[in-house]
């Protein structure tokens, strides 16, 4: 990558960061609430990309980590009365253990074995939730967990900057909770994937024999990627169940479409980029929510969008995949390079001396 390229990436990054940090002052309160939920989807997508996008070991069942993280936190809070900070920690650890339990046997073998195992594991978990409805809430899920940060009274600073009700304050507080976690996860993954660890991950994706030939234990690195991915997914989900956004319900954390969604976001955003899936997760959430809530009617066929949104939504996703098989982010960065080279043919030599 040229230095100029890095420079322009940095500028885009800083603009996004400023935008996210000032979102509460730019967006309506309900949109801000949506964005909070969207950030969690971005975190889920990043966690998938860290293992599947980088090492090429496809996980089709990442919801197992979200489910284990979220349910562990919820149950420990409701039944044992542990505080959210402790239960989030416990949910995170539990997801990591699940990563080891599944990863140790599944990652020793090469090929699509992991994909198969991860496809089945969440199915088992969904059934377990249904077998113990008293403790795990069954299909309806668990509600009423303690909030990570109690916002019962309006907060002085927020009132001073124009947020009125306690509801608004709560939305703003949880937005920042989500944003901090999102940025922390992004930074963590960024540091690892840009280090030699990332170059081993992508080498595994390219050719495991080549990795073995340089004296690196590919299985160890795959297990690390998978477990760390699980830890982060579990952390995000455990935090999510202690926000006002969502309880611990199979539909949000466990069922197959949840897993498919993160795979889809990973592919759409650009596998092995972290940034692509993170950003695409956010956009994905908004497009889906907008379609879902739309009361527009499709002309000619006369069907309301809100009823057939899934057909529309997944068709759009398919079209994007056909058009941009490598994903949106790689396409964008190619595009910006092309545009720059056209505007400034001398870009290449200059970039070296900048």
């Amino acid at each position: 990558m040229t230095r100029r390229n890095i420079e322009s990436h940095r500028i885009v990054g800083i603009v996004c960061l400023i935008g996210l940090a000032s979102a509460p002052f730019l967006l309506g309160i309900l949109t801000l609430r949506q964005l909070t939920a969207a950030l969690f989807l971005g975190m889920f997508a990043m966690s998938w990309d860290y293992v599947s996008g980088y090492t090429g070991q496809l996980s089709f069942g990442h919801s197992m980590f979200f489910g284990i993280g979220g349910y562990t936190a919820a149950v420990l809070n409701l039944n044992v009365g542990l505080s959210p900070v402790v239960t989030i920690l416990a949910g995170t650890v539990a997801a990591g253990i699940a990563g080891l339990l599944v990863g140790v046997p599944a990652l020793r073998l090469r090929g699509p074995y992991l994909a198969l195992i991860t496809l089945i594991a969440p199915l088992v978990l969904v059934q377990i939730v249904n077998i113990y409805p008293d403790m795990l809430g069954g299909e309806g899920g668990l509600q009423g967990m303690d909030l990570l940060v109690a916002v019962d009274e309006p907060i002085g600073v927020l009132s001073a900057v124009g947020f009125e009700s306690a509801f608004e304050h709560r939305v703003v507080v949880y937005y920042y909770v989500a944003l901090l976690l999102f940025l922390a996860i992004y930074a963590l993954f960024y540091v690892f994937t840009r280090s030699y660890v990332g170059s081993v991950f992508t080498a595994i994706r390219e050719d495991e024999d080549a990795v073995a030939a340089v004296g690196v234990d590919a299985a160890k690195f795959k297990l690390f990627a998978f477990t760390m991915s699980g830890v982060v997914g579990g952390l995000a989900a455990a935090t999510l169940v202690h926000t006002p956004l969502a309880g611990a319900a199979p539909e949000r954390l466990l069922v197959l479409p949840v897993s498919i969604e993160v795979v889809l976001i990973g592919f759409l955003g650009g596998m092995g980029t972290i940034t692509g899936p993170a950003a695409t997760g956010i956009v994905f959430y908004f497009v889906r929510d907008t379609l879902q809530a739309s009361d527009a009617v499709i002309p000619l066929v006369g069907l309301p969008v809100g009823e057939v949104w899934e057909v529309l939504f997944y068709s759009i996703a398919l079209l994007v995949l056909f058009a941009l098989p490598r994903g949106v982010l790689p396409w964008l960065s190619d595009l910006s390079r092309t545009v720059r080279d056209r505007n400034d043919p001398s870009a290449e030599p200059i970039s070296e001396t900048h």
């Binding site: 170059s199 080498a203 050719d207 080549a210 073995a212 030939a213 340089v214 004296g215 234990d217």
Partner: protein, 258 residues
Amino acid sequence: MSTHSTRSARDTAQSADILRLENVTKRFGSVTAIDDLSFTIRDGDIVGFIGPNGAGKSTTFDCVSGALAPTSGSVYYRGEDVTGRPQHALVRRGIARTYQTFRPLNDRTILENVALSQVPNSLFSLTDFRADTEERAREICERVGLEEYLSQTPDELPHAGLLRLEVGRALGTDPDLLLIDEPFAGLTSDEIDQTVKLFCSLREDGMTLVVIDHNMHGLLDLVDRVVVISFGEKIAQGTPEEIHNDPTVQEAYLGGEL
């Protein structure tokens, strides 16, 4: 060639075995790829490992390098039984190999391909991956003759370049024993000469080399000793001259060119 003087000098200096195979057998289902194979490689030698198509040469490399575990038999490296140890562990002990079908990483440059050989095998390491490892990777590329391709990707490389990349990546692991699978196939005679020179210079640095080929053409100037296998079994072992006059070997090649 001045290899003869160095050869005799080395003979008096040491004659320890670096590698020993004892009754190694490898079966794939009903196919016996190597059959009760035993031989030794002396430290510091360049050994030719020859045999016709499908004789089991690559499979033998697989068993020695740890890519495959032998069905039975033992592999000793510097006197230690290393049978069935994983490949990455053996690389750390000093056994490196190249692949007959090259294994470049097509997602990165030549320099980055070679730099992969410098990564630690631990998950958390504070060694600065950028600065000195890149320098080392550059040196290796120069050594194997890839200096003009550093920022190109493998798919832009000619065949001979890909071979150099294989060798370069193996050299990056600082091997004592280097197993090279059919390096001369598809090379022009100029390229073969350069490659032979490179291998000789590696031996001067104290490396032991085992070089696979179908026949002895390219190997005559290069090797100290030759091991010949056919249908998975060793049929001869000795100096190139001895092998040349061996009736069993001539029979195995059915009067074809040895």
